[in-house]
Structure formats: C-alpha cells, structure tokens
C-alpha cells in the first residue's frame, strides 16, 4: 500500500487544480466527497468489511464554512508537498500548530485538522502515511509468544520477542506497522485477545495468561489507534491467528469491537487495511451480566441512545448483536470487565476466560 510519492503529489495536485479550474470557468469552487456517517456505509463483499457508500457531499465556497474548508485544504496540500520535498514527516498535532502561520486557513481545533486530513485521504484515496502525517504516539502494548522484527530509526533491523525481550508493560506498537518497518518472524500462539482496558490487560499479564493459555494479549487502549488495528489485521492474516475482542459491557465498547472487526465509520475509506473481519466478540456480553451475576450500573440516557442507534447501525445487524443489545436495553444495565473481580482476582483467568474460550471452541475441555 505504500505509494510512490510522485503519485501522491499528482493526486493532491488534482484537488488544487479542480478548484483553480472552477474559478477559471467562473463557477463557485467545490469538491465532492462521500458522506462519512452511519447512513452511508455499505458492506464490501470483496474485503468483507464496511466501506463508504455512494452518497456524496459537496464542499462549496458558496458558504463561509465551505470556503474555509477549501482554503485549508489548499494550505494542507501545499504543506504535504513541502514535507515530501524535504523528506520529513509531522504529527497531526504538529500540523495543527504549524497552521498558526496559515492566516485565514488556520485551524481552530485539532479535531478540525484531523478530520480534514481524513477528508483528504478519502478524496485522493491515499493514506495518512502517504501525506507524511502521523498520529500522536499510540503506545498500545502487546505481550505473548511472538517475535517481531522492527526497522529502527538507525536503519538497523532488530528482533524483539514479545515475552523475553520486553518488560511487564510489553512491546509497544509503533505508528507505522507496514512491512517495510515491521514484520512478524514467528508466532506461537493459539489466539489474539484484544483487551479494552489497561487494568484488565495488566491482570492477564500478572496472572501469566499469555503463557498458560498460549494467548497474545493486545491492549486496545479504548478506541484502538489505526496502527493497533493494522497490527492485529496483519498478524491475524499473515499467521492465521483468530482474534477475540474482550471489552466492557456497554455501547461504546461494542463500537470498539466493530472498529476492529468491521471498520470504523470515520476510517471506512481504508477499512480493508484496518479491519479484521474474522474477529469475534468474547465479552463481556449482556448475557454474561445475567449468567455471572455481575455488579452493574444503570444505563444512562446517553447509553440508551447509543444502543438504540446501534440497532440501526448496519454493522450490528446479525442475530447475536440484535439479541444482546435488546437484552441489554431490557436489563437497563451495563457492566465493566473488571467487575469480574467480584469473585476474586484470579476468577477472570481461572474461570471466566476458560469458560468463554471453551464455549467459543478456542480451547478444548
């Protein structure tokens, strides 16, 4: 997926050219891009992931907001070309600060600059990395019996075993996990468990679950960064390892699962790079609340709204999710991964996970 940078320049120049030509033809300048919302994602049979559909939105200089967007886009394109020329890259946050010098085109929040970078990806079908833009350090952590080879900044290739060569906090996933930077040398694990919270990740590490159950533990750190998702996708695909997602039991966590398995709405233009369609949801499920009699909190109004919205989200239309979400609405409750500690610190590794993994056919009885 790495493209020749000349190709990138050609693509972004086309955007500038479109705007220039509009002005030349005395037309109000505008650019089109797919609507980036739940209402416009479609299942892509080829990649088994959810991608943007055909509904387009116009960014036009007819409105002030639209005109500002166009101007910022021009500045951003110019900035990217400059970085390619001098062979540098910048973080999204750095770009946000650099925009201070862009006069009227200056960004007012980092959200604004992040989402414009995404827009540009969508318009040009390039990736952020092509634009020499990187996110803030992710630092999502990995522990398990695999060996990774990473190209360091000194241009050395370094092999890292993700149990023996790392401390208790594990191997930290870099922002670039493409083959020229990172490759998987060996992997002797039965499955990957992607874990939402740091507390639960640390519990499984302390209880040596990676060794006793031949598991690779990945900390998602909430909504997982692109590099974390890409890492999981590559590892799972290249070494044929199933992925299990272990989160809290609330609507936000289901979205974390969806972004790992199906693709996130914000990044649906690159779902085929980031999503692992074979991922399975391990828990905590609303049924678990009942089966394990877990401590709970009441659903807030926001929770209920999100659950209802998930019922109409095309990604949650299978019977498993329909039933679980409806059950949760009926219960009116939510729970956390760490609520399992109700039965003791070892309960999750001794009882809950083994039972769930057996149920899912991941371990034999």
């Amino acid at each position: 997926m790495r493209k020749d940078h000349n190709d990138v320049i050609k693509k972004i120049d086309l955007v500038a050219l479109k705007i220039y030509n509009d002005l030349e033809k005395t037309e109000i300048p505008c650019i089109q891009l797919p609507i980036r919302s739940k209402s416009n994602i479609e299942f892509n049979e080829k990649f088994n992931v959810w991608k943007y559909g055909k509904n387009m939105i116009q960014r036009s200089a007819k409105s002030l907001d639209g005109a500002y967007m166009l101007l910022r886009t021009m500045y951003m394109i110019d900035f990217i070309k400059e970085m390619i020329k001098i062979k540098k890259s910048s973080t999204l946050r750095e770009m946000y600060y650099i925009s201070e010098g862009w006069d009227y085109a200056k960004f007012h929040s980092q959200n604004e600059s992040n989402s414009l970078a995404e827009d540009l990806e969508v318009i040009t079908s390039c990736m952020r990395e092509d634009f020499k833009l990187r996110p803030e350090e992710d630092g999502a952590r990995v522990i398990g019996n695999i060996t990774i080879e990473e190209l360091t900044r000194n241009n050395n290739k370094k092999k890292i075993h993700c149990q023996d060569d790392v401390g208790d906090s594990g191997y930290s996933i870099p922002y670039n996990v493409e083959p020229e930077k990172l490759s998987f040398k060996s992997a002797d694990v039965d499955f990957i468990i992607a874990i939402e919270t740091g507390g639960m990740f640390d519990r499984l590490v302390e209880n040596r679950f990676d060794s006793s159950y031949r598991a690779l533990l990945v900390h998602l750190k909430g909504q997982p960064a692109r590099s974390t998702r890409r890492f999981i996708k590559r590892l799972s695909g290249e070494k044929n390892i199933p992925v299990l997602v272990f989160t809290d039991c609330d609507p936000w966590s289901y979205r974390i699962f969806a972004s790992v398995a199906y693709g996130a709405i914000k990044t649906a233009h690159i779902s085929e790079y980031l999503a692992t369609p074979s991922s399975q949801y391990l828990g905590v499920t609303p049924s678990d609340i009942e089966n394990y009699n877990l401590p709970t909190d009441k659903l807030t109004r926001e929770d209920i709204k999100s659950l209802k919205s998930e019922l109409t989200d095309p990604r949650f239309q299978d019977s498993f999710w329909k039933n679980e979400i409806k059950l949760q609405l009926k219960l009116g409750k939510k729970s956390e991964q760490q609520a399992l500690a109700k039965y003791g610190l070892d309960y999750v590794t001794d009882t809950y996970l083994p039972e769930k993994l057996t149920e899912m056919g991941m371990v034999k009885k």
């Binding site: 500038a16 002005l23 005395t26 300048p29 200089a61 005109a67 101007l71 021009m74 110019d78 009227y104």
Partner: protein, 647 residues
C-alpha cells in the same frame, strides 16, 4: 326549633361602621398583608399627586419618604407640587371614604373611586392609632394649612384634631404624613419597583424616593411635555346603567326626552335620539322627570338596539410611542437591550367606554434567556403590581404563539420565556378592574382583542428585526467570504499550480446574488433656544415649535446591487408620526406622516445608490433604526429590507 321573628332580627340590624367595612374588605382594597399595605399606601398618595398636577398643567415633582422604626411602624410622607386642596375639603378628602371628584366624571385619570387616600388614613389609624397630618398650599403668596385628622369610624366623617397655618416654601402642593404598620423590609423593593414603573409611563414626572436609611433614588424626568390633557365627556349610552340613567334624568334641566338624550349623553345627535325614542316606543316630547320606571327600562333597552357612534376619544391621554420608547430606553440602560419596539392601537370602546392600548417591547441585552418574560402592566399610567395571573393583559399575551418571534413557549400557549420585557398600557375613562384594589383588568373581550392586535404588531416588528438580523449575519459572512477567503483560495491555487490569478468578479456576484441594503443613523445637535417659560404644552401644541431646535436625526441608506442583472424597485422607510421631515435625497416620490417612498430607477449590476434623509422633532435615540421595505422586486433578492405590505 325556636321561632325567630323580625323583631329578633331587627336587634341585629344596625349601621356598619367604616372600620368594620374596612376590616372585612381590606384585601379587596389592597391592604391584605403588611407588604401590600405599604405599596398600596404609597401608590394612593402618588397617584393622587400625579392626577392633581396634570389637572392644572404642572410638571409633577413627587417626593416619597418612608421612615421605619424597628417595631414595624412606618411613617409615610408623600408630597406633590400640585394645586393643593382648599381648606374646607381637606378633611373630607382624607377623612371620609367614598369622597372624590372622579367617580362621576368621564375622562381618563388615575383615581376613579374616591376611596384611595382616605383608606390609607383609616388603615394607619386602625393599625397605629395615630392621626394623619396634611399640609396643603393653594397659592404662592398665602400660607399653607396644616391639619391633623382622625376618622370617626362610626360616622364615616373626619375629625379635625388640630389645625393651623404655617409657612411652606413650595408655591403650591400637598403633603401627607401617615403612620402605618407595614413590612418595610419586604415592601420597599415593591415600592421601588412601583415608582420606577410609574416613572416609565410618566416621563414628564420627577419622582424622588428616600428610603428609611437615607438612600435617595431619583427617577428623572425625561420629557418636558405634559401629557395631552384629557377632556371630560358625557357618558355614552352603551355604558350607562339603569339606576344612573334614572338619576341623571332626575337632575337634568332638559324638559323633553329627545333634548335630554342629546344634552346628557355623548354621541347623541338628532337622528340617533329619535331612533332611540322610536325603538323604545316613547314619545320624544316626554318630560324625563315624569317618566316611569318601565319607560326608563325600555329606553335603557333601546340604547342597546340602536347603532350609536363610538364615544369621542379626546377624553383619553395615551403616552405615545416615541415617549414609551424613550422611557424604556432610559430605564433599561443597564440592560443594554438589543432593540426596543413599540406599537399603539387607535382608540376603541367597550360598552360605551373609550379605551386605547399601547405596548412596548424590550429585547435582548443582559436580560435572562431562560426566565419568563417580564410583564409590566399599566392602567391609566399606573403600574399594576399584583394579580398578574388574573389580568386580561396576561391572558392576551398567553394566547399568542410567540415561538415564531424569537421567544420560547411551551406548546405555543401560556407565558413565553426569553430575554424580553413587555410593557402594556391600557388607558380608559373607566378601567374595568377586577376589584377595588385596582390591580388587574377584567377580561373584557374588546380590550383583550385590542391588546392582542397591538402585541401582534409588536411581534411582527420583532420578527422583522430578527429576520433582518439573521439575514445580515449571513450576509456578513458572505462579505468575509468574498472579500477575504475567496481571493485567498484563488491566490493559493494559482501559486501552487504556477498559473495566472483568475478573475473573481463573476464568481462573486454568483455567490452574493442579492441586492444589499445597509443603513446608518447619526444625530446632530443644533443650538437650542433658551426656553423661558416652563414647557407646559401638549404634544400637539408643541410640535410646530420643536423642530427648529434640538437634535437632527440623519439617516443614510446604501443600496448595492450584487445581482447579475440591473434592478429597479420601490423603497419605503417608516418614519415616526411625530417627526418632521427635513432634507431628502434623492427626491422621493411620496412623503406622508408614516413613510417616505422612492422609485429607484434601474441600478446596474455591481453599482450602488445612496439615500439620505433628515428628521427633526426627535431626541437622540428616538429613531435609532430604519425600517426599510421594498416593492416590485422579489423580496428574497433583498438583504436589509422586507416586503412592503401596503400601508
């Protein structure tokens, strides 16, 4: 059961003393609790002072002082610079209930019952046992009378305890001192509010309020003009009750029924008088003094069956839109409102009583966004502080859907909320209060309807204003777009691509696609002649004199055609009725008392036209916004003006 005879009952039948009457009815009279008692007492005194001054064309100066001792007793002092009261009347006015000069007169005044001030004296006497003190002076070069009074509650007569003459600096006026039991702590806020509100609708009055701790508040006079003096008129047949009709007939000098009708009633000409007689099947030569009850009854019924002209309306003395706006502006200075709007209705009548409605609306500024709107109600220039819920003004406001006009309102009914103050003034020769305490206006359909009509005019103006603001906001953005952003986009893209800068004119007209109207108002002070004699003229008399001194209001309007084709249309600007139009450029097609009209000949694309006019006879700020309308052009093409809907 024991048999009760008429004799037994007779033992219980006796005259009820005014004290007992008062005790039973004190809530109706506004003395229901100790907070209200304080406000009511101040109000009765101040209302009388204002009435008295206006009656003799003196600009009122009212002084109110309250001295509170710790044991709950307050000493109230109210002083005016009115004509004073002749010595022999003092004791009746202050010491006798139901004694007054307004009860039988048909003209607009604050007092209408003859209970007011004597009720205060009685309340003071009943609660503190102390006597009232009155000082009054009727002529510049004569001493004042001072009188100490009590009320003989069995006889409803005044008892003069002490009487003397003293020197008083005032040319003329009246001062009353009464001690009453009152809740000063809680009541003083209401007294303040009452006096402030009074000052809003009586811009010609200067009111001073001295609190018990010595703090002095001065509500300044903002207009040197006395209100138009209301003329006393005869009763209108629609409004007269049977008993009153009989009484008037007994006292009349006319000897024939037709003459009686014409002389004793208003709106009665030969034709109407004959029609009434015919309808009543009464001979028009009948002697009214000899008519029977049945004959009066059919006469009374006939009144309702004949179409009689509405009563004349010069018995009313409305405040006028310009003055309402000016006082509202003055009193809401600290709020710095976004705009102030006024509307008034022509006089109308209910059962023969003329009345008129005026409204004002203050919007925005520091007013709270989420509280109910504030309503200030007035009847004959007197603020109504209590019983808002039971007042026709409230129900009229509640029945309008305010949601379209920038206010919040649950389900489009009830009290709206939002950053607004509503002022409603009803003036009438007889305000139909719901009770003697004169705090709420009864729900008379004619009055409710007029209030609604006035509010609707206001609401439309609000909408016009908001509309204009939103459109202006939007267009401001467009200016930012075409002046700053678009050139930048062109600049950047041509630089990046190494291409020549494209021309933007055509794109700009495509983006704007409107006729743009903007306006400014400036004021210029011009040398004011010294006014020797105190201005005690009516609004109307004063008008001709006003325009050669004071302030000139200069309005400038700029029309820019950002459409792709040339545009030709008519433009109207609304002007206040009491303004005098000076120089107007370019030459207007029409000027009348409400508006100036121009036919704008074809303005080519991207060209502009300047319009200027001057107004005299207004003070700075009276006219602070142009109301601009257009005709013969699609109004959606125009920013800064609305569609002309006809006069």
């Amino acid at each position: 059961m024991e048999k009760v005879t008429a004799h037994d009952l007779a033992k219980k039948q006796k005259e009820i003393s005014v004290a007992e009457f008062f005790e039973r009815n004190k809530h109706i009279l506004g003395f229901g609790n100790q907070t209200r008692a304080l406000v009511t007492s101040v109000k009765e005194g101040v209302d009388n002072g204002l009435d008295a001054c206006e009656e003799v064309n003196i600009l009122p100066e009212i002084y109110v002082e309250i001295k509170n001792n710790e044991d709950g007793e307050s000493k109230l002092i109210i002083e005016d610079n009115g004509p004073g009261i002749v010595k022999r009347q003092i004791k009746h006015i202050f010491g006798r209930l139901l004694y007054g000069s307004r009860f039988h007169s048909v003209r607009q005044s604050r007092g209408q019952q003859g209970i007011g001030i004597s009720a205060v004296v009685l309340y003071g006497q009943l609660t503190t046992g102390k006597h009232a003190k009155v000082i009054s002076k009727i002529q510049e070069d004569r001493p004042a009378t001072i009188m100490e009074l009590a009320i003989d509650t069995n006889k409803n007569r005044a008892e003069v305890i002490n009487q003397d003459i003293i020197h008083w600096d005032k040319p003329s006026g009246t001062r009353i001192e009464v001690s009453i039991i009152a809740d000063y702590k809680r009541g003083k806020r209401f007294v303040y509010e009452y006096l402030q509100s009074t000052s809003i609708v009586n811009p010609h009055a200067q009111i001073t309020f001295k609190e018990s701790d010595g703090t002095e508040h001065i509500f300044e006079r903002t207009s040197e003009m006395l209100p138009r003096k209301s003329v006393e008129i005869k009763p209108h047949p629609y409004g007269v009750e049977l008993g009153t009709l009989i009484k008037i007939a007994k006292q009349t000098k006319s000897r024939k029924l037709s003459a009686f009708l014409k002389n004793e009633f208003t709106s009665m000409g030969d034709r109407t008088a004959n029609a009434v007689c015919e309808k009543a099947q009464l001979e028009k030569y009948l002697n009214p003094k000899e008519m029977t009850r049945e004959q009066f009854l059919s006469l009374h019924k006939a009144f309702k069956k004949v179409k009689i002209m509405a009563p004349p309306t010069d018995c009313l003395s409305p405040i006028g839109e310009t003055l309402i706006k000016r006082s509202l502006k003055y009193e809401t200075k600290e709020i710095s409102p976004e705009f102030i709007i006024t509307a008034s209705r022509p006089p109308s009548a209910y059962t023969g009583n003329p009345f008129q409605v005026e409204v004002g609306l203050v919007y925005g500024g520091n007013l709270p966004m989420d509280a109910n709107v504030r309503i200030i109600r007035f009847a004959n220039r007197v603020p109504l502080l209590y019983q808002q819920g039971g007042c026709v003004i409230t129900s009229a406001i509640s029945s309008i859907d305010w949601r379209r006009y920038g206010l919040d309102q649950k389900s489009g009914k009830g009290m709206p909320s939002g950053p607004a103050i509503f002022l409603i003034h009803v003036s009438s020769t007889l305000i139909p209060f719901t009770s003697e305490s004169k705090e709420a206006i009864a729900d008379i359909p004619e009055i409710e309807n007029e209030i609604k009509l006035a509010l609707r005019i206001c609401a439309r103006k609000v909408q016009h204003h908001i509309h204009k603001k939103v459109k202006r906001e939007k267009i401001k953005e467009k200016f930012e777009l075409i002046k700053k952003i678009l050139p930048e986009i062109a600049n950047k893209s041509s630089k990046m691509l190494n291409k020549p800068l494209p021309s933007l004119d055509a794109v700009i007209t495509k983006i704007m696609d409107v006729v743009w109207i903007e306006d400014f108002i400036e004021y210029e002070k011009i040398s004011k002649k010294v006014i020797e004699e105190p201005v005690q003229m009516t609004l109307l008399d004063n008008k001709s004199k006003q325009h050669d001194d004071g302030t000139i209001t200069k309005s400038k309007i700029k029309v820019i055609n950002y459409k792709r084709s040339s545009q030709k249309f008519n433009l109207y600007v609304i002007i206040p009725e009491d303004a005098i139009v000076g120089t107007v450029k370019p030459k207007p097609t029409n000027i009348n008392k409400n508006f100036i009209k121009w036919n704008l000949d074809s303005i080519p694309s991207s060209e502009k036209v300047d319009i200027n006019f001057e107004l005299a006879g207004l003070e700075e700020g009276d006219f602070d916004e142009n109301d601009i309308y257009v005709e013969d052009i699609n109004p959606s093409y125009v920013i800064g003006a609305d569609k002309w809907e006809g006069e």
